[in-house]
């Protein structure tokens, strides 16, 4: 078993699944000759040809729109949006069409489309290159939203997503691309969509996170014995695991990179307040970015949730 970083793990998953499934076609800006700006698709065009790993014009809406047509026709397109900040231009195609094709056609046409995009902050990149817009896509019935938290989960979730019959938005935390190396099995394994991962057990507090924030949560909780849940799939979200844990601990802290108001943390807190409130001993706290326009690199560390902020929130709920 090799020690891989997340870029390598995703590249390996794509390579292996393309070997296995001829219907998989990759399209996007700079995904071919250049191997993607983060090298996630490196070597795939040499291996599978320019008909299967397609460099497209600079057209996010048509990248997703064409991928929808390909998927309906019978392929399994993997569309890359170079950075999440540019997926906003494909919002209409994703919500109006990808999310609804199965329903609108009453099952006659389906959309097994995977949209990959680097997401999140912490890499000191230019404007719009560090967006965390996951919550927008979790309000779209018909779209699955998946966020790996490391190389191992990235490969397993990607293989599962590539075999899912419905559209999946696969958000790759850019900050983690080369931050973590993990044992990643060479062979085929999947992590089912819709199942959260219990990262550590605890009895007094449940900390819920995903993507790059998980790494900061683990730093924060250290040996405090908190129960940490890595959601992995945001939509559909494994609320059962969250609720079971909160019923046990009586305390919940939710951590995400996106702005607080309307972030996905709100849905988790609301679900707890709806279904487990009688077990709560403390307020449900959210540790998030503030409700401001994301700043450029000089202020990004002040924008993103920090280990200290996470600790402060845990301390606060423990006061009850």
């Amino acid at each position: 078993m090799a020690q891989l970083n997340m870029v390598q793990a995703i590249n390996l998953a794509l390579l292996q699944e393309m070997e296995r499934d001829k219907r998989i076609v990759i399209l996007g800006e700079d995904v071919g000759r250049d191997g993607g700006v983060f090298r996630v698709t490196e070597g795939l065009q040499e291996r599978f040809g320019a008909e299967r790993v397609i460099d497209t014009p600079l057209s996010e809406s048509a990248i997703v729109g064409a991928a929808i047509g390909m998927a309906a026709y019978g392929l399994r397109p993997v569309a890359e949006i170079q950075f999440m900040g540019f997926a906003y231009a494909a919002f209409d195609q994703l919500f109006t069409h990808a999310a609804r094709l199965r329903s609108r056609s009453r099952g006659r046409f389906t959309c097994p489309l995977l949209v990959r995009t680097p997401y999140g902050g912490g890499i000191k990149a230019p404007e719009l290159h560090e967006e965390s817009g996951e919550a927008f896509f979790c309000h779209m019935p018909g779209i699955n939203v998946v966020v790996p938290s490391g190389p191992y989960t990235a490969k397993g979730l990607l293989l599962a997503a590539l075999r899912d019959p419905d559209p999946v938005l696969f958000l790759e935390p850019t900050r983690l691309y080369r931050l973590i190396r993990e044992e990643v099995p060479e062979d085929d394994y999947t992590i089912p969509l819709g199942q959260a991962r219990l990262v550590s057990e605890g009895k007094d507090v449940t900390v819920i996170a995903w993507g790059s924030m998980l790494e900061r949560v683990m730093k924060a909780v250290g040996s405090r014995g908190a129960e940490v849940i890595d959601l992995l799939t945001l939509s559909p979200c494994d609320m059962e695991t969250v609720l079971a844990s909160v019923r046990k601990t009586g305390r919940a802290v939710i951590v995400h990179e996106a702005a607080k108001t309307g972030g996905f943390g709100a849905e988790i807190a609301a679900t707890i307040a709806e279904e487990a409130i009688l077990h709560l001993r403390a307020p449900i706290l959210r540790v998030t970015a503030p409700d401001v326009t994301m700043p450029l690199s000089k202020l990004e560390d002040s924008y993103l949730p920090t280990v200290e902020q996470i600790n402060r929130a845990i301390d606060e709920v423990m006061r009850y």
Binding site: G65, S103, S105, R106, P236
Partner: protein
């Protein structure tokens, strides 16, 4: 070195059948009498459906409906050029295309009555659901063409849309991609000269819509959209070109929306009766009848007989539609995804 000519372009207009029913022999597509009758009857069927849909809507038996009156040639003439293997991407005003291709008539009524079950295309047809969001289906046709070529299928993807759709970003991104990859796709614009209340000249400053193809490096042609032979010929040529690797074609069918935008619209607020009357006189069905009469295979009697037959077909479809049980609330949950998440299972129970 000075100001030199970089490139020059010409945009053509094709017409075959004039208003008196005379044809240009040189350009007349090879069609047997039987085939022409088939085209004619498909146009009559389309108009009969349209008339009935308007009537049903007035009686509250259908929801909002967009009439195709006047666009029968542009729709039927293009649709009948396709092979069954081709993929079809209609907008919301393509009833004539759907009917000509054999889409179940009662399902079309069912859809316009507000029941999405009408959108479930039978397995043997490759017709995409009606696209209500103007122009956003164009990239889907482009993707289907990419997939067809990838699979090595001799399939052409064909998208129909209106003049207003040419202003959308998705029109541009889709056309550009089709050009770059030289895809087997045909784009058919039903230029009925109005986008609700916005006239063509307020939609584009271009002398024609056909010339927009120049921006993408492939051919664009304008055809007389009320001339079913011109529409048919242009479409056949575009399909053949696409199938033989020649890439995309943009066909602008210049026609006219005789009716209101939809049953919810009142076109009297924004356009003159004279303009409408002038176009009524250019009725595409009348024009074809004149030709057929000259060729001695149309007369009043046959015309009446055909209309009666089509009316019976429509009657039957209306009955079939109204015999359908109403959808159950639970059906909302059925096709959001392949499976129901635990949360959806819970929501379904709460119904």
């Amino acid at each position: 070195m000075p100001e030199e000519l970089l490139a020059s372009f010409a945009v053509k207009r094709l017409s075959v059948l004039d208003e008196q029913g005379n044809i240009d022999e040189a350009l007349m597509p090879t069609l047997s009498e039987a085939e022409i009758r088939r085209i004619y009857e498909a146009m009559v069927l389309a108009r009969t459906f349209d008339e009935r849909a308007m009537a049903l809507q007035r009686e509250g038996r259908l929801g909002t409906y967009p009439p195709i009156l006047g666009q029968e040639a542009a729709q039927v003439g293009s649709a009948l050029a396709l092979t069954p293997a081709d993929w079809v991407f209609p907008s919301f005003r393509e009833t004539g295309v759907q009917l000509a291709l054999g889409y179940p008539i009662h399902q079309l009524f069912q859809y316009w009555a507000g029941d999405e079950r009408g959108q479930r295309t039978p397995e043997k047809l490759n017709i995409f659901p009606i696209c209500v969001s103007v122009g956003t289906h164009i990239p889907h046709a482009v993707g289907a063409a990419m997939a067809a070529r990838y699979q090595g299928d001799p399939v052409v993807a064909v998208a129909w849309f209106g003049d207003g759709a040419t202003s959308k970003g998705d029109f541009h991104e889709g056309f550009n991609m089709a050009g770059v990859f030289r895809l087997p796709v045909v784009f058919i614009c039903q230029n009925n000269q109005w986008a609700i209340s916005v006239p063509l000249k307020a939609q584009s400053a271009a002398a024609s819509l056909a010339q927009k193809a120049i921006a993408y490096g492939f051919d664009g042609i304008q055809v007389d959209g009320n001339d079913v032979f011109a529409v048919y010929r242009a479409t056949i040529e575009a399909l053949n070109k696409a199938r033989s690797g020649g890439g995309p074609t943009f066909i602008e069918c210049l026609t006219y929306r005789i009716g209101d935008h939809t049953t919810a619209d009142d076109a009297g607020r924004y356009r003159s009766q004279d303009e409408v009357a002038a176009w009524r006189a250019r009725d595409p069905i009348l024009r074809l009848e004149r030709y057929m009469a000259k060729k001695k295979f149309w007369n009043e009697e046959y015309g009446k007989e055909a209309k009666t037959r089509m009316t019976a077909v429509i009657d039957e479809a209306v009955q079939a539609m109204e015999a359908l049980p109403p959808p159950l609330a639970s059906e909302m949950f059925e096709h959001t995804g392949a499976t129901l998440s635990p949360r959806l299972v819970g929501q379904l129970k709460e119904l």
